[in-house]
Amino acid sequence: MKNFKFILGVGVFAAASFFFLSADHIDAPAVQGGTSDITDFYAFQGEDSNNLVFVANVQGLLSPSATASASFDENVMIEFNIDNTGDNVEDLVIQAIPRDGKMYFFGPVAPGTTGLSSTVIGSGPQTVVDITAYGSTPVVQTTAGISAFAGPRDDPFFFDFAQYSAIIGGTASGFNNPGSDTFAGTNVMSIVIEVPKSMIGGSGTINTWVESKSKS
């Protein structure tokens, strides 16, 4: 019985390690598996090279059968932070909050206060888009040069995380070739917003990061 318990313990530990996933998927105890768990962040030039695109993904490793019932949490704000003065403090934010089947975007706009607490800033651009249902064509809203999308997407991240875990755990000495994408066939809840570069600094380099914040 003691042996069995020990084996069970190892199994649970191995499972926990396996699900300690990157890029930022399930990265920390306070957020893992919850609606505020950011899985990934991308920022790249748009199809129109005058625009920049921000992508935040949350709620990783959704199976196809779990995706239809997955939803954004109305108590969670996703906030894109933009520093365009080189001090790693946000000068502009884009806030996204869901309400009743729609995603509301506020910004780019200067935050009320920088740092760990935010209130919604309604004085800047506002963009509202219907959240796309699982299996439907993406709903895109473009208002005053800003385009917005929210809904389930294929997880764009790819990594042989299982083999990485085996290497870190000491049970493998290297990666396989070919490797196996641990994230293949899984979905995320995705928020995509494309804004004119002129709204976030115009030229030069920005520093950007994404935060999830929950209503207290």
């Binding site: 930022d24 030039q45 001090d87 042989d160 083999q163 994404v210 999830s212």
Partner: protein, 185 residues
């Protein structure tokens, strides 16, 4: 003429009044729209991929997520350097660098401030062989880039079985048009 003036005044007032009420409706505290009042408190944050997962020790991961980027270097650089050297012991040799010419203190100094640097002037990529840290595109093989910088040594030739996971692309193609990400499975 006087009548015309009056009509203009009425029109102007109407316009101003309409604009005012329109502003109110659109605001976060609208009496008729959704309620967005309240304070939102930080839970998770992310700049570059896999940083918290790889470089932050297990007991500090929540703390890393709630430390503002401008304070992260002072709070976490030493931990990052210890964990980097633990993963890739060659970094402990004096003068050892990665292919970007960064030694362990410099490389972890860059990573500990977890923001994504993005160019507004052209190509945006994590690394494409030419451009370095000018953004992150969907198709960028960020994990192999990070493995190369951790394990690959000065010229990407060291530890070949550790510096590439041999998963080089996503399992679905991306679109060139908004919203860019592929449809869900």
């Amino acid at each position: 003429m006087k009548n015309l003036k009056n009509i203009f005044t009425v029109l102007l007032i109407t316009l101003v009044a309409f604009n005012c009420s329109n502003d109110d409706d659109a605001g976060p505290n609208s009496p008729t729209g959704p309620d967005f009042t309240g304070t939102y408190t930080q839970k998770d944050q992310m700049g570059r991929p896999a940083v918290n997962t790889v470089f932050v020790s297990s007991g500090s991961k929540d703390s890393f997520n709630t430390t503002i980027p401008s304070n992260q270097n002072a709070a976490f650089q030493a931990m990052f350097e210890a964990n980097l050297t633990g993963l890739s012991p060659a970094y402990a040799n004096p003068g050892d660098q990665n292919a970007l010419g960064l030694d362990a203190p410099t490389f972890t100094g860059l990573l500990a401030t977890d923001v994504l640097n993005v160019s507004l002037d052209g190509t945006t990529t994590f690394y494409d062989g030419t451009n370095v840290l000018t953004g992150r595109a969907l198709a960028d093989d960020v994990i192999t880039v990070e493995l190369l910088l951790i394990f690959g040594g000065e010229d990407f030739s060291e530890n070949p079985t550790l510096s590439n996971d041999n998963v080089d692309a996503n399992d679905k193609s991306f679109s060139t048009s908004f919203p860019y990400l592929a449809s869900p499975w």
